[in-house]
Amino acid sequence: MSPVSRGFRRKREAAPADRVPPGQYVTKDFPVLSAGPTPHTPLTQWSFSITGGSETKTWTWEEFRALPTEQVTTDIHCVTRWSKLDTMWEGVSLDVLLGAVEYDARYVLAFSDGGYTTNMPVADLLGGKAWVAYGYGGGPLGAEHGGPARLLVPHLYFWKSAKWVRGLRLREVDEPGFWENYGYHIYGDPWREQRYAGD
């Protein structure tokens, strides 16, 4: 049993009662947490692709930015237990992107510059629940937070909102991505506290 260090406590802000999933605390910070170096892909070389449907569909940065966009205000929840409320984003809905593709797959593997991957059911990207976000807090999304564009899937733990996203691979099977391979939950619902495999 570890001795208690008198007076030590976790940094936390007051949390409005039912806004925060179990085991989370609210922070005003936006921690920069990455598994690798920040990529710096020039916009002239950037593209977003959806593969695994009847045809591969690719957008250049100009084509992507010409798509209809939305402003989103949402809470985000990291599996490391911090939650950030009322974060403001701007992005293209996955309803628009997936709507441009014919497919019958049920799962996706999202992939990013630098090799990061994460997986989820297609259904969790549809119905106004997910975006490819290029704006944060009223300005362009900074590179350290995933810019030029990241996946934003706020109803799942934030490791699923892949930074530096470059596309989706549609799959028949729910193939685990980077952290899912190392014991994190295959789905990751913060409201059911699905942090680790088997939770």
């Binding site: 920069v32 947490l33 990455s34 690798g36 920040t38 990291c78 490391t80 088997g198």
Partner: protein
Amino acid sequence: MDEETLDGNAIGGLLMEVFGAEMTTAVATCGSCGAARQVAELPVYMPGLGTVARCRSCESVLMVFTKVHRVTCVDLMGLASLG
């Protein structure tokens, strides 16, 4: 190099826990590009979900450590050798 990036010195304690020995002077050889470096000099990322040590030359993932329900999971598959 990003400001938050550490190096293998920072995981000396974790490596002692996992290997039972001081490992920061062990030479890690990258399975992708063959570069060989002491563990202490590898770039290390600790994003809270786990610890990732990469090759300094090609940035491939060499080692990943996570702690799932108090069990440490170790993946060394990015290494050609360590020692």
